[in-house]
């Protein structure tokens, strides 16, 4: 067994999807054009309720949600174009990001009719924000060892435990949490289930975790005898692991895995001007050369997902390479900028660079670490 270019069939974005692009560009220019680069560099970490609501008013949150549930019912190609433009510009998408990318597709796939009618319209209106409860203090890469537990009670579930590294839990309405409903952490992937947790319920405590950058997107979330209604279970009891894995191809195959440092790259390129020094041009070109096949692979996986396939190993391979380039961008630019000590660099470039230099450590942690992804690739190659 091997992996090759055949795993990524050549694909293009169809005209109906490209037709959306200029409208999206115009919208971004109007609603996020004034943001300085160091803020736009927050990219999909930038949280702005006003922006998400305005985007939703255009019908662009929950783009693939069918009309009957309050979305425009567009296809994954349209979503690729929308997301590509938002990320390239560094638009602040975090408020609706998780609901749009993961929670809505999960509920469409595994939710009950009632859950879909209750939650999807709110996601599409930019009124309901979601976070994801996966990691725990003792379960990072080893996700199957989670210990947070939901026990059946009369008429529902009682939730106890703790989640950590939960992005924007303090600004979200709901968490989709992966927890244990039977057995112990020794039972690994068996006995896990997914729940919709209303974060305003009694017994839920959200504490911020400050990062060295000064940002506080992350939280730890405690559950102490939180009583969940019976209909908060998503999908089948005990099927949580499979459900989580089905999301991963969506989570790991998009442009967000290659564009996290693009605002920095483009600001630097702009400052270089039309005739850069050859050494700077070579750095720029080397980064563009690494990005180019990755964008092609992402378009290819969009086509595979649109055709109902689940390119999990492919997405792991793409994400590992993509986050590597996202980290190489600040490395190259830092090296280039400081190569001329007598030259005073642009202040906004320095702010943006400093942010990305610090934030980029996390690019290859979020959504599956480098080592986990390479392990998946090795499995795809038949080594495990």
């Amino acid at each position: 067994m091997t992996l090759s270019v055949e795993n990524f069939p050549a694909a293009v974005l169809p005209p109906h999807a490209e037709a959306l692009r200029q409208e999206v560009k115009a919208f971004i220019a109007e609603h996020a054009g004034a943001l300085p680069a160091h803020q736009r560099a927050r990219s999909w970490s930038g949280f702005d309720v006003g922006f998400s609501r305005a985007l939703a008013a255009r019908g662009w949150v929950g783009l693939t949600v069918p009309v009957e549930y309050g979305g425009p019912g567009l296809d994954p190609y349209c979503r690729f174009v929308l997301v590509e433009e938002l990320l390239a510009a560094g638009a602040p998408v975090a408020a609706h990001w998780i609901g749009d990318r993961q929670s809505a597709p999960l509920l469409l796939h595994y939710g009950t009719e009632e859950q879909r009618r209750t939650f999807l319209p709110g996601i599409c209106k930019g009124e309901l924000f979601f976070c994801i409860g996966m990691s725990e203090p003792n379960s990072g890469s080893d996700l199957a060892s989670v210990r947070t537990r939901a026990e059946k009670t009369e008429g529902g579930w009682r939730l106890n435990g703790q989640k950590i590294w939960t992005t924007y839990a303090h600004k979200s309405h709901y968490m989709i949490a992966l927890v244990r409903t039977s057995g112990t952490s020794e039972d690994r992937q068996n006995g896990l289930s997914q729940f919709l947790v209303d974060l305003s319920l009694p017994g839920v405590t959200v504490n911020p975790i400050a990062l060295g950058t000064g940002d506080a997107d992350f939280n730890e979330v405690f559950f102490e005898d939180v009583l969940l209604p019976a209909d908060s279970l998503v999908g089948e009891e005990g099927n949580g692991w499979k459900q989580v894995n089905a999301e991963l191809a969506f989570e790991r195959s998009g442009p967000e895995r290659i564009y996290s440092s693009l605002v920095l790259l483009d600001l630097w390129a702009q400052l270089l001007g039309p005739t850069p020094d050859p050494a700077d041009a070579a750095r720029l070109g080397k980064l563009v050369a690494r990005l180019a096949p990755l964008r092609e692979m992402s378009v290819s996986m969009t086509a595979l997902l649109a055709a109902g396939k689940s390119p999990l190993t492919e997405a792991a391979l793409f994400k590992d390479m993509g986050t590597e380039v996202e980290q190489q961008i600040p490395e190259e630019i830092a090296d280039a900028v400081a190569a001329r000590p007598d030259f005073v660099p642009d202040a906004e470039l320095m702010r943006t660079l400093a942010y990305i230099m610090q934030a980029s450590h996390v690019f290859s942690l979020r959504g599956g670490t480098r080592e986990i992804l390479r392990g998946m690739i090795a499995r795809g190659l038949g080594l495990r």
């Binding site: 990524f8 694909a11 293009v12 850069p276 090795a378």
Partner: protein, 325 residues
């Protein structure tokens, strides 16, 4: 790729697998006599894939021949088959036919010239266009792969419009595709070796450290294949797409050779083992038709040129697969 194309590629792969054995590769490298191998390949008719149908060829396009060039790389084909195929296409598009038994390379300015010792002709740039000239390789064969350091060229036997840069772009594109093919074979050999060779009581491929390295190897191979495939989309070679492909191939060759040789241990470098057939060729191609740095500089200049609002726009407009309508 459609079914017709699959049949074409499968047929070509069988031909090459049967004809170009590793023993045959070594024989050409040692004797510098390609005649019998060339005769067998020439008779297949595949050299005229790009020649228009009304000129007796198959009338195929660049995207159709890309998988064939991957195959040539995978089998370390030791003769300028891809180069001759592309040269015949470039000439015939302008109504010029090459001598039937010519072994041709595209010969822009280059630090090395793969297959240079085997050629009868070369496409070279002169002030008034591209000339097909009688040619002989000169200088040392520094990789022992029938390469040369330059050419002694003779009389022109045909001329078509074109610039030295067209020649550089074409040569780099053809090299990138074969490099990607060679890399995919090195991945395959490395996987096989990691499954067979045991140390400390278990196969190498069971060690996590080795698994992680081979995952990186696979990433690099696929990245190069995708970049080269895009360079073969559309109706003609585009400088930006080729720049990305050759830049990637040049850069990735270091990792690919490094990891596959590390996994193999010293046996991989021995004459009797096939791995070095591929790594020698990759190293030679790194030195041919512009390095990673050369193409990265050109690509960076293209990105920096006015009219590109951001990198995502640049990628979409200039580095995406182009459908031939």
């Amino acid at each position: 790729m459609n079914d017709d194309n699959n049949i074409l590629v499968d047929g070509f792969r069988r031909l090459i697998a049967d004809t170009v054995t590793p023993a045959r590769v070594r024989e050409v490298e040692e004797t510098l006599s390609p005649a019998s191998l060339w005769e067998a390949l020439h008779a297949s008719g595949f050299l005229d894939m790009l020649v228009p149908e009304d000129a007796g060829g198959a009338g195929l396009m660049l995207p159709d021949i890309f998988p064939l060039l991957l195959v040539l790389g995978e089998y370390a084909v030791p003769v300028p088959f891809a180069e001759t195929m592309v040269a015949r296409g470039m000439l015939s598009a302008r109504g010029v036919s090459a001598p039937e038994d010519a072994l041709i390379v595209l010969a822009p300015a280059s630090a090395t010239l793969p297959f240079g010792k085997l050629v009868t002709h070369a496409l070279v740039a002169r002030d008034d266009g591209l000339h097909l000239v009688e040619a002989q390789g000169k200088g040392d064969d520094i990789f022992g792969a029938a390469g040369a350091l330059g050419l002694t060229s003779g009389a022109s036997v045909g001329r078509v419009p074109g610039s030295s840069d067209d020649l550089m772009i074409g040569a780099a594109a053809v090299a990138s595709a074969q490099m990607a093919g060679a890399m995919s074979r090195m991945l395959e050999m490395t996987l096989r070796h990691a499954g067979e060779r045991a140390q400390f009581g278990r196969p190498l491929g069971k060690f996590q450290a080795i698994q992680q390295q081979i995952a990186v190897l696979a990433e690099q191979v696929i990245s190069c294949q995708v970049a080269a495939r895009t360079a073969f989309s559309g109706t003609s070679f585009d400088p930006v797409r080729v720049a990305a492909a050759k830049c990637r191939a040049g850069e990735a060759s270091n990792l690919v050779c490094g990891i596959s040789h590390a996994v193999h241990g010293a046996i991989g470098a021995t004459a009797e083992f096939d791995l070095q057939l591929y790594s020698r060729r990759l190293k030679q191609w790194q030195l041919a038709f512009g390095s990673q740095q050369y193409w990265a500089t050109r690509l960076g200049m293209a990105r920096a040129a006015p009219g590109n609002p951001n990198t995502a726009d640049f990628l979409r407009r200039n580095l995406a697969w182009e459908i031939v309508s």
